[in-house]
């Protein structure tokens, strides 16, 4: 490509790119700030706020707190359950002589790109079947939500766990064996501890995806068993009060705090690298 660009034009274009970058960064963060600022209104949602007050924060409904705690618990259980499934699975994928690994891995990765909305409906239909034919109540129960969330988020744990395990040298197994450790001891005392960064990174992603999911949960939640994002979504659909923004801000605060913690102990880059 022979595009000769003069010095002057080059400078102008580069300047334009820098300006565009600044605008893009502003574009990314503006909505986040706006939500927080607007929550300090007392009655109507106006930017900038006419009368600053903490009223909206002091009047947070109990249901918001309940769903928030429930979502935290659900996310934690989901991350843990995913890890329990994925650790042995990763070991099987990396360390065993399993046949058809490529196919299995592709299949297990499929929930990642699969539309959440379709999954939500499909699981709803399936849970109705369990309720009807097997008399096991799942719609509107914690267990049902946990199952659905785990199905949706386990690939986030599987991928970094497999990546981390693949990177571990075979020699650790040999060293442990030479020191008298059998397979189980080697796994528990050496391999799994060394897999920890991958597992934790995955559990973090799983927690976040579970904590923020609406599309799957909204089909499976009940009136007494909603999650925080579904509650927030429902409120946002029908209303527009400062209270709404206050609750949203607090939710974001928790997510961001978690991100900071993970960055401090593992590093975001590890979490985001997809092996």
């Amino acid at each position: 490509m022979k595009t000769i660009i003069s010095r002057g034009v080059d400078t102008v274009l580069c300047g334009a790119m820098h300006a565009l970058t600044v605008l893009a960064v502003a574009f990314l963060v503006m909505p986040l700030f706006v939500v927080v600022i607007v929550s300090f209104n007392s009655t109507t949602v106006i930017f900038p706020p006419r009368d600053w007050s903490l009223a909206s924060y002091l009047q947070i409904p109990q249901v918001a707190v309940d769903t928030f705690l429930r979502s935290l618990l659900l996310g934690l259980c989901c991350a843990t359950l995913s890890a329990l499934f994925c650790i042995p699975a990763a070991i099987a994928m990396v360390k065993s002589n399993l046949r058809g690994k490529a196919f299995i891995e592709a299949a297990l990765r499929s929930p990642l790109q699969f539309p959440a909305i379709i999954l939500g409906v499909a699981i709803l239909q399936y849970f109705y079947f369990w309720q009807g034919a097997l008399a096991v109540p799942l719609v509107g129960t914690f267990m049902g939500l946990l199952i659905a969330h785990t199905v949706y988020t386990f690939p986030f744990v599987l991928v970094p766990t497999i990546a981390r395990l693949s990177a571990l040298s075979d020699q650790y197994d040999e060293a442990a064996a030479g020191l008298g450790a059998g397979s189980l001891t080697t796994l528990v005392r050496v391999i799994i501890p060394l897999m920890r960064p991958g597992i934790v990174a995955g559990m973090f992603m799983s927690f976040i995806m579970s904590f923020e999911d609406v599309a799957v949960t909204m089909f499976l939640a009940g009136s007494k068993m909603t999650t925080f994002p579904v509650y927030l979504f429902g409120s946002a659909e029908v209303s527009n009060t400062p209270g709404l923004y206050a609750v949203a801000s607090l939710g974001s605060l928790v997510a961001l705090t978690l991100v900071l913690l993970v960055e401090r102990f593992i590093g975001i880059r590890t979490v985001l690298s997809k092996g």
Binding site: S169, Q171, Y172, E174, A175, A176, A177, G178, L179, G180, A181, G182, T185, R189, V190, P193, L194, R196
Partner: protein, 358 residues
């Protein structure tokens, strides 16, 4: 510490036979080096002894007990890997305790023995450090302590100096040898460094192409190697291709294949009539004055190494020679000199005789 016997060992990788019909006995309390170039099979042999490689044939016995099909965790053999393979998530003392923990040793006893082992390698002040905080030399010592604390019947070391700086190597060689002698360990070392093998070992097993080509104590191997390959591999030598003219007991009159120059050598070639004469550089004397039997030579290159000087000489009869001088006679490049050597230092050897060393 124990005696290891290996019979007719065969190791196969895919379709390729790495080792075939190998026999070896290692006595109690010996430090033996498996020495050879890359691909000689020495590492495969070591790994087979440790149980990390399953042989395709043959058997192995420790103190008479057959261990051929026993997995590594039950062989009671200590192993120090080339890059140490310390467990990164465990501290120094926890690493050393690992082997004791798997054997069900009680907590207090474990700690005591681990500290004792670490003291033997002078690492008892680093108990709570993690491997990433330790230098290469320190990691090697921890790896050693971890292997000896379990009181193994045999200790295997795979290129133990490979990951160390040159300066540290000689020190480490001394320390490992001292430890081995003090604890009377039976130790098998794999190395490609002949100086290391000669310095540390009671016996050296020279390997090439999956076979043992020579074996014996370092002194014998250096001064009376069985083949030209061994002569060249241990230390430096001048290998002169010759034909045998006449023989008289141990003496032989030989002729250079290329130049036709004749001289006296010692040794025999069994049935062959052509072979090599191995002449070590330190056995060549250079003088400025002609002596009876001296050959004229020209100094082509001179390399000063402090402790000695290497001279690359060009002679009409013997071709290019490497000589080593210590003190007397500092010769400049381009100088004309005379070289002398004794027939008993000119060893007549077959080219390469894949034999069985014991």
């Amino acid at each position: 510490m124990s005696r290891l016997e290996i019979d007719s060992l065969k190791i196969v990788y895919g379709g390729w036979t790495a080792i075939d019909d190998l026999n070896l006995t290692i006595e109690k309390g010996e430090l033996v080096s498996l020495l050879g170039p890359s691909g000689s099979g020495k590492t495969s042999l070591l790994r087979a002894i440790g149980g990390y490689l399953k042989p395709a044939g043959g058997s192995m016995r420790i103190d008479g007990k057959d261990i051929t099909s026993v997995p590594p965790q039950f062989r009671d053999i200590g192993m120090v890997f080339q890059n140490f393979v310390l467990f990164p998530h465990l501290s120094t003392v926890e690493n050393v305790e690992f082997g004791l923990r798997t054997r069900g040793v009680a907590k207090a006893e474990r700690r005591r023995r681990a500290i004792e082992a670490l003291a033997m390698v002078q690492m008892d002040t680093y108990l709570d450090r993690y491997p990433f905080e330790l230098s290469g030399g320190q990691q090697q010592r921890v790896a050693l302590a971890r292997a000896i604390v379990i009181r193994p019947t045999l200790l295997l070391l795979d290129e133990p100096m490979g990951a160390l700086d040159t300066k540290l190597r000689e020190r480490a060689q001394e320390e490992i040898r001292s430890l081995q002698q003090e604890l009377q360990l039976t130790m098998i070392l794999v190395t490609h460094d002949q100086r290391e093998a000669m310095a540390m070992s009671d016996r050296i097993i020279v390997m090439r192409g999956g076979k043992i080509v020579d074996a014996g104590d370092p002194w014998r191997l250096y001064h009376a190697p069985k083949t030209a390959f061994t002569a060249e591999f241990l230390g430096a030598t001048n290998l002169l291709p010759v034909e045998v003219l006449t023989r008289d007991g141990n003496r032989a009159r030989v002729r250079m294949t290329k130049t036709g120059h004749e001289f006296e050598a010692e040794g025999s070639l069994a049935d062959a009539s052509a072979g090599y004469v191995s002449l070590r550089p330190e056995d060549i004397t250079c003088t400025s004055r002609a002596e009876p039997g001296a050959l004229p030579a020209k100094v082509m290159k001179r390399m000063f190494y402090g402790v000695n000087t290497h001279l690359r000489l060009e002679t009409p009869g013997l071709g290019s020679l490497l000589a080593v001088q210590h003190r007397h006679g500092v010769f400049e490049e381009g100088a004309d000199v005379f070289v002398v050597f004794q027939p008993q230092d000119a060893r007549l050897l077959p080219a390469d005789l894949p034999g069985e060393g014991r």
